[in-house]
Symmetry: C2
Subunit: 406 residues, 2 copies
């Protein structure tokens, strides 16, 4: 059995997004001069370039002034806010949500994910996940002692076919082999692709057939580009509702990350356990922060459309720029704010190249290996940035690729 020190060695955060304010490591083999430019941190979105929903500070202040009832809510969130959200989420996802038994407000979508994993994984349980997918999923499975069963996503092969690239036969083999829990993000983080109705249906049918529980991470489900169809697994009505929990939050498209709010909804038995876990993890999402919830899904008219259009425009330019760089391969983002370009062979290893980008080009990106050990040739960018600065930074990345080509 692992010691606690060994267990935490498996959960390295040195290259995790959000930690880039720390001093970079040193790199051998750098050449050339620094490339001047304004620093862009692609590890997460820029809430100054794309600010929070208008009115959110005023609502927070009201919550503070209201005092005790907003400071101390039920662990699963204040009842009237859950009532509001349950209506909005039922409409959004196409299936009813009971405010009392089927929804919990959490400290960020990360909080929802932690709780959803924590109430389903016992040591030794097989947990299937997509590769590539959100980096924390891997660490959560490790933390709870689960056995990681990776399912390949053929995101390059499926581009243009209206599919994400799920290899359904692999998923079935894993489920047949005893997987207890399956987690996937749609749109996919980091590849930015959408699962087709057929793919989501296959997931639901296989989960139902093999009795597998599913966590559907729909964090970016409100930011879908080019009028594409989005399929909510819960809206299909294929799965036993007890076996499915869906998570979403206002931290991304809505830029509300500084309030740390998220929500998990679905399976009543999981929600009960999630609240028990939240009671010992952090009690509740910060009471005063919960007060801004009524703005989410009630943004000013046109505000979400504008935000999505602004991101589609940045995506178009970034994808075009990367594609003009010989040897770079990138799938155009269909939903969410990520691109996951594959780079040509370089003289530097991935970690050194990413450090070089930071040291020589003032650009921060996330290592592909955070999303699966095999992505040693890929980097992730969150393009929720100032459009002009982001384009300058991507051009600097391309210059750096040229500089370090093998």
């Amino acid at each position: 059995m692992l010691t606690i020190e060994e267990k935490f060695k498996l959960m390295a955060t040195d290259s995790a997004p959000g930690q880039e304010v720390r001093a970079p490591g040193t790199v051998e083999g750098l050449s050339g001069d620094p490339i001047e430019g304004v620093r862009v941190d692609f590890s997460h979105g820029d809430v100054d370039a794309h600010p929070p929903i208008p009115g959110s500070l005023a609502l927070f202040d009201q919550g503070f002034e209201e005092g005790a009832p907003q400071a101390y809510t039920e662990y699963r969130g204040r009842a009237k806010l859950r009532a509001y959200l349950s209506g909005k989420l039922a409409e959004f996802s196409g299936a009813p949500v009971d405010a009392d038994s089927e929804l919990i407000v959490t400290p960020g979508t990360q909080g929802a994910l932690f709780l959803a994993m924590g109430v389903n994984i016992m040591p030794g349980d097989k947990v299937a996940l997509i590769e590539p997918d959100y980096f924390a999923n891997r660490k959560l499975i490790t933390f709870f002692g689960g056995e990681l069963v990776p399912i390949r996503l053929d995101y390059f092969g499926a581009e243009g076919a209206g599919r994400a690239g799920l290899v359904v036969s692999e998923l079935e083999r894993a489920f047949a082999d005893g997987v207890k829990l399956f987690i996937f993000s749609n749109p996919n983080n980091p590849a930015g692709c959408l699962y087709s109705r057929e793919e989501v249906t296959a997931i639901g049918e296989l989960a139902e057939e093999y009795g597998v529980k599913v966590i559907a991470d729909e964090l970016y489900a409100r930011q879908i580009f080019d009028g594409r169809e989005y399929t909510h697994l819960r809206g299909l009505g294929i799965m036993d509702p007890e076996n499915l929990v869906t998570i979403i939050g206002p931290s991304k498209t809505e830029s509300m990350s500084g309030f740390r709010l998220g929500v998990a909804y679905g399976s009543p038995s999981m929600i009960v356990r999630m609240e028990k876990l939240q009671a010992i993890v952090s009690l509740r999402a910060a009471g005063y922060c919960q007060a801004v919830i009524p703005l989410w899904f009630s943004e000013p008219e046109g505000w979400m459309d504008e935000r999505i259009a602004a991101h589609a425009a940045i995506r178009d330019d970034i994808v075009a720029e990367f594609r003009s760089c010989p040897g770079v391969r990138v799938r155009a983002t269909e939903g969410g704010s990520y691109v996951f370009p594959q780079l040509p062979a370089l003289r530097l290893g991935l970690k050194d190249f990413v450090t070089a980008l930071r040291v020589q080009a003032n650009v921060i990106v996330t290592l592909g290996t955070e999303f699966g050990p095999q992505f040693t040739d890929s980097i992730r960018l969150n393009f929720s940035q100032d459009h002009g600065k982001a384009m300058d930074a991507v051009r600097r990345i391309c210059q750096m690729i040229d500089r370090y080509r093998a």
Copy 2:
């Protein structure tokens, strides 16, 4: 081995503080009329009666306006805020704190406790805790699969002797028997007693002798009554600093609970692991909320003294009132906002009596059994309430005790 459902059955929250907004259960054997009175919820403090530190909303608003740097901090908290806190906490606790390596900002003190437990307990590890002590400790040990080793606190026997009532021989026996981790709150929650310098020294010396790691929960360490001496374990300099982590937060005396802020400081190796865990639990304490930290430990002159005096006055009256009720035994609170009266024999079981208090007397208290299975005759009250309403409510409790005497 437990199933996940069985594991969570052990972590019941039905009687946990904070959930009292839910409908009460039904009780057989009620008699008499309702006793009129304004509802008082003694399960937690009333931030309307004792409001947050002046200026906290303005500081939050500034943090929001600052934007990105305050929304996305390092997982362990924004560097400049850690620098501020490390200075204050070093002064407070009497031993140096390195801002970079020895401190993490968490979502509430509950968050700090969760992380501290999570980075120290592996399944099967023996974990010693005081009985009675903070209810979530028990559930955390269960969640992480540790084996609970209870250490009796003779809080009635030691009253007036300047000690909390630690049975040092029991602690040594437990440590000698292979305990890996020991957790205790000082002042004790729920009994409100302070550990003497000799008791804290004994804890430190035994921990050092047996290589036991210690979590010192000092949540209420700023609210000490009657000029009593408070002993910080870390300030004694007895223990290997790698084996000790201390936690505290502004949610109680300072009434900042709605911001969900806490801090853990000490052992660099634990802090590193705690940050890795925080990265997958909730990323960070809400970024904008962190902005209020500079008020903590820098309250307006006289503000803390007034607050402590106000609580001492409530304590005096509540303790006197309970002592005037035949058969009730209560130790006078030395630090913190709790009393833990022991009740005489009643016709109703504890759970039914507590429900009766709610249904017939409009008073909410916490069951003694949350703090240890043997406390079937005790209730906990958080007396950080409106003074007058609290006294009325305590008188109603005494009436109810009279009504249901066995």
